[in-house]
């Protein structure tokens, strides 16, 4: 049997209660939602939180809704809800691309967007997805709420702007005209973490790429924001040559390490191939050339 070390457990009834409990319990406390990253780490005794605050009853944090010029996603929204959301599929189809290849149905039924983003595993798909679509994260702490960009959100390996006493509340996606997006992933087997994955979003205007967002998973210590490639695409008409050039930047600007999934040269190669593919699909979706 794989058994965790001993810990105390509390089931939260309100967001304020979570913030208060985090403050009271200090650094040994961890929030648990879907638990599909935390529980395996606890069972392997790689993580030994002294105190778990279970937020699964905070259903007020579970929603996907349009609010003015944004789509708001509650932090407790499960992967399966992201997968099945027609609202997201309409505006940001890369969510469905990603959710179809994130883990397996068991994990998707429990795992949450907030948990994925806060775990901030560099190989995690939703971090790149949210970066590509220029999402903003709403974080609440003892001192109130603040909103940060994904660049600000990603602080380092497994580290985010969500501090010890904070809770991620919501993810907000700006709605703008001419959007298209796609997520491309290569994995060794269905349900495995990515060898490499690329998320791309474009906002087309008058046949040109008005703005682009590109981020990579699994090819660096954190999610890679490809700002050089985004700059390259800005204001240009989409061509295969342009995508290839963006892919070359991806290959150069990522920083993969060798592991059981593959050597560095292969991962760089994949970063380029997948960036090109994601951009191509994003653009054709924006131009309604792909169903």
């Amino acid at each position: 049997m794989q058994t965790p070390a001993s810990f105390e457990y509390e089931r939260a009834t309100s967001v304020d209660g979570v913030i208060a409990a985090l403050k009271k319990r200090g650094s040994g406390a961890r929030v648990i939602a879907g638990g599909h990253s935390l529980m395996p780490m606890m069972k392997l005794r790689l993580a030994k939180p002294e105190y778990l605050i279970d937020i699964n009853d905070l259903t007020e944090l579970s929603y996907i809704r349009e609010e003015g010029e944004e789509i708001a996603i509650g932090a407790l929204t499960r992967h399966v809800e992201l997968l099945n959301s027609e609202l997201l599929a309409e505006h940001f189809p890369l969510f469905r691309d990603a959710e179809q290849v994130i883990a397996d149905p068991v994990v998707r039924n429990r795992g949450t967007i907030g948990g994925s983003l806060c775990q901030a595993d560099a190989a995690e798909d939703l971090s790149a997805v949210c970066s590509a679509v220029k999402a903003k994260a709403v974080i609440r702490g003892a001192d109130g709420e603040r909103t940060v960009s994904m660049e600000e959100f990603h602080v380092g390996p497994y580290t985010t702007a969500v501090g010890a006493g904070d809770l991620l509340i919501e993810v907000r996606l700006p709605l703008r005209a001419g959007a298209g997006s796609a997520h491309e992933k290569v994995e060794r087997r269905a349900g495995d973490w990515a060898i490499a994955a690329a998320s791309a979003a474009v906002w087309m205007d008058g046949g040109k790429i008005a703005e682009a967002g590109i981020a990579l998973s699994a090819v660096g210590l954190t999610t890679i924001h490809l700002s050089r490639a985004e700059q390259l695409l800005k204001g240009k008409a989409p061509t295969d040559e342009l995508f290839v050039e963006a892919g070359e930047i991806a290959s150069t600007d990522c920083s993969p390490s060798a592991d059981g999934r593959g050597p560095v040269d292969y991962k760089r190669h994949l970063a380029g191939v997948l960036t090109g593919r994601a951009l191509r699909r994003a653009v054709s979706r924006a131009l309604h050339q792909e169903a």
Binding site: P40, R45, V186, R188, D192, G260
Partner: protein
């Protein structure tokens, strides 16, 4: 496309009395989650064991301090090698006549080796206490690469063995004939040389290994709950190891969540649980976790095979093989004692070779021990992979179609029984016929055309062939045994007065459907409906002696035993029926379920009437005891030799190098099929495993001997999404010496499928990328490296 499913279930075939498509009797409880697995069992007063394992692959143990763990309020005992020494249990024999440390005392020899055993009142506390044990290690140089194990400067791993001066685990063992093989190569037109590696993988049953040992100090009775594949053999081993009386040991297997060879050996955790219960006088439960299963229990394969194959006049003529077998730190490879390298020398495959010569030597490395037969008859898997990869390479070199080369080289039907150049006697076969059935289902010519068209468009498609012959059903006592135990199996059949029956067998199902298949054998022979026949197994107090289930031996050996014991009952029933019908036995004829008078078919006795009579107060035949029972021990005269033709179709993404198995055609000839649905289930499962082995499964180590694949995050097993809809076909060449004409089949798909898939990958890449070899597993990274011309063998 050809019709694959020829025997769709119909109302007539759903409840056959005898052979046919009967739904598995055991599935009702399995699919409802109502099976009883080891971890479901809780005994009163039970305590829990956990094992402290070595973080080092090779290190001297300077000291072990258990005082803090012992001070834990819920810890009952901490056992180390010193404690076991006083019981004479510090070392145990392996199934290959080597010895293995139960708990490491002098030094640790692989990462994950057992160092201490904690017993606590709950499993959480037992695991907490592991962190309270202080072990001081002095790290030693490590050897993980089998090729370097015999270097003069390699560290000596087995300094516990008197006279051991290097890491050689076996003498060099040979089969075939060197001189005639040299001659065949000298006159050959074409010779191909390859280093073929079958990397280390793991059977990874979903239920891990474990045991509850329950020693009763008052009676001296030891009850053992332990899912294993050979309960009777295990009991004998415990009697030898622990010095306990064999008749006072009872092993109960209950339901087993997969074995695949992993549950053949005796593991140190078992010995610790038994020792713990004897010392503590209460039941001790130990169940390993996933990491422990992957890193310390029996791995499979790990063969480095240097090989040469040659052809003359369009036929394969010779094969030369030199193998380094990596057995890890202790040699616990599974093999019948008289065959030092198992059945590897069936490596001549399905071909009428002029000569062959095979050499195998085994080495110790600082890796987990094993070499179990993962769904395999003792290294047949490695042999089949080797010869089918080599034949493919030879066909490429000769510029001929790989099927044509095989067709030209097959052993012809009239050559059976056929003695191979390495000394096996194949019982039966019509290989070309089976190959043609596979080609028809695949639409082979169309596939080749499609491949050419795709290549023009820059798409990569490959077609891979494998044609295997296996020897399964170990085995004749004149040829083989395990630890001195004949590889025979018993059957005990009791027909009750009501005509319902219990058949007890020594085979041990781990999911193969024995409760159904063996009931069908009795049903076929006696005409009793299968639902009226209970199949008993898995409890040494309630089943006859025998060597269990592995190496596809259940139907070849146990199935034969059940057929023979049924016929004994039928013969006795005939004598009783003659008395009942007041006629002579020789005047009776048999139809399923009934003896009748030849000249008067209306006059007869049903089997249940005969059973009732056998237990009644009515007269029996002279000198005959009452009852309708019989028992046998079956000693097979030969192995059975199933074979099959497999064709894999793969697509490879030219940019990402991902391999997709688009189609898989498997035509198996396993002789007579008792329950075709069970056979097909076995084939589906084995093909899925083969896809896993070919594409993703690997147990690897870094230079310090750290295992890099210690959980299902890193050791990938395939899912339904990697498996195409399997296209099955069959030919039936009955086994001439098996009472039912049946041959084993369980391991065939696992054995036969990896070479087909790897051959397909190479077929896809040879023309465009010049790839002539890729080692398993064909992960995207490895295939991409091969496409770039710099593939490295797996380590």
């Amino acid at each position: 496309m050809a019709v694959v499913e020829q025997n769709l279930p119909s109302p007539e075939t759903e409840r056959p009395i005898g052979f046919g498509r009967l739904k598995r009797k055991e599935d009702a409880r399995f699919i409802r989650g109502q099976g009883t697995y080891l971890d479901d069992i809780r005994l009163p007063g039970m305590v829990y064991g956990a094992i402290l394992r070595s973080p080092y692959a090779h290190a001297r143990i300077v000291s072990i301090d258990t005082s803090k763990a012992l001070a834990h309020p819920k810890v009952a005992a901490v056992v180390t090698a010193k404690d076991l020494e006083t019981l004479g249990l510090a070392w145990m024999p392996t199934i290959s006549y080597d010895t293995q440390a139960v708990l490491a005392g002098d030094k640790v020899r692989f990462q994950g080796q057992e160092v201490a055993f904690v017993i606590a009142t709950d499993e959480y506390s037992a695991n907490d206490a592991l962190e309270l044990i202080d072990v001081e290690y002095e790290p030693l140089p490590v050897v993980v690469n089998a090729r370097k194990a015999l270097d003069p400067d390699a560290p000596l791993i087995r300094d516990d063995k008197i006279g051991q001066r290097d890491n050689l685990a076996s003498p060099t063992w040979e089969a075939g004939d060197e001189a005639s093989t040299d001659a065949a190569f000298a006159e050959a037109d074409t010779v191909v040389v390859r280093d073929i590696i079958y990397p280390r993988c793991h059977p990874a049953p979903l239920e891990t290994c474990g045991m509850i040992a329950d020693f009763n100090p008052q009676t001296g009775q030891l009850d053992i709950y332990n899912g294993n594949q050979a309960p009777h053999a295990h009991r004998t081993v415990y009697a030898h190891v622990a010095g306990l009386a064999e008749h006072m040991i009872r092993i109960m297997c209950n339901d087993i969540g997969g074995g695949f060879g992993n549950k053949v050996p005796v593991y140190p955790g078992y010995v610790c649980a038994i020792a713990g219960s004897i010392v503590a006088g209460v039941p001790v439960k130990w169940v390993e976790n996933r990491t422990e299963n992957l890193t310390s229990t029996g791995f499979a394969r790990d063969y480095i095979m240097h090989s040469e194959i040659c052809a003359k006049d369009g036929r394969i003529t010779g094969l030369r093989v030199d193998v380094i077998a990596d057995h890890g730190a202790f040699d616990s490879t599974a093999q019948p004692t008289k065959f030092p390298a198992g059945f590897f020398h069936i490596v001549c495959g399905s071909y009428d070779l002029k000569a062959s010569h095979v050499k195998v030597k085994a080495v110790y490395t600082n890796k987990a021990p094993g070499g179990v037969a993962y769904r395999c008859s003792f290294r047949i898997t490695e042999a089949v992979y080797l010869v089918e990869r080599m034949v493919e390479a030879l066909a490429v070199e000769m510029g001929v179609d790989p099927i044509d080369l095989r067709m030209n080289s097959f052993i012809a039907p009239e050559q059976f029984p056929y003695e191979t150049t390495t000394g096996w006697t194949y019982d039966s076969g019509n290989y070309a016929k089976t190959m043609r059935v596979a080609m028809d289902i695949a639409g082979y010519e169309d596939l080749r055309r499609e491949q050419l068209e795709k290549r023009k468009k820059g798409e990569l498609m490959g077609i891979g062939i494998s044609f295997f012959t296996e020897g399964v059903g170990a085995g004749p006592r004149k040829h083989m045994d395990i630890l001195g135990l004949a590889m025979n199996d018993g059957a005990d059949l009791r027909v009750h007065p009501s005509g319902k029956a219990v058949v007890s067998i020594s085979a041990q199902t781990q999911g193969q459907g024995h409760e159904t298949t063996f009931a069908q054998i009795v049903a076929e022979e006696l005409g009793i409906p299968p639902e009226d026949i209970e199949v008993r197994y898995g409890d040494t107090d309630r089943s006859p002696y025998g060597l269990g289930t592995y190496g596809s031996r259940s139907t070849p050996v146990s199935g034969a035993a059940v057929a023979v014991v049924s016929r004994k009952v039928r013969d006795k029933a005939r004598l009783i029926a003659a008395t009942m019908l007041e006629t002579r036995p020789e005047d009776l004829a048999w139809e399923k379920g009934r003896w009748y008078v030849k000249g008067d078919p209306e006059k007869g006795a049903m089997i249940e009437e005969i059973a009732s009579r056998a237990y009644s107060g009515e007269p029996m035949p002279a000198d005959m005891e009452g009852g309708l029972d019989a028992q046998v021990i079956y000693d097979p005269p030969n192995l059975t030799y199933p074979y099959g033709a497999y064709i894999a179709v793969v697509d490879i993404d030219p940019d990402t190098a991902q391999v997709t198995v688009r189609r898989f055609i498997a035509v198996d000839d396993c002789g007579v099929r008792i329950n075709p649905m069970v056979v097909e289930g076995q084939i589906h499962g084995g093909l899925a495993e083969g896809i896993g082995i070919a594409l993703m499964e690997l147990i690897s180590f870094d230079e310090e001997g750290n295992c890099l694949n210690s959980s299902f995050m890193d050791y990938l097993i395939p899912t339904a999404l990697e498996c195409p809809d399997f296209e099955l076909g069959e030919t039936v060449t009955p086994c001439p010496h098996h009472p039912l004409g049946a041959k084993g089949v369980g391991e065939s798909p696992n054995v036969g499928s990896p070479p087909a898939i790897v051959n397909a990958v190479i077929d896809a890449l040879h023309e465009t990328h010049g790839v002539d070899h890729v080692d398993m597993p064909c992960t995207p990274a490895r295939v991409w490296a091969a496409m770039q011309g710099h593939a490295e063998p797996p380590q």
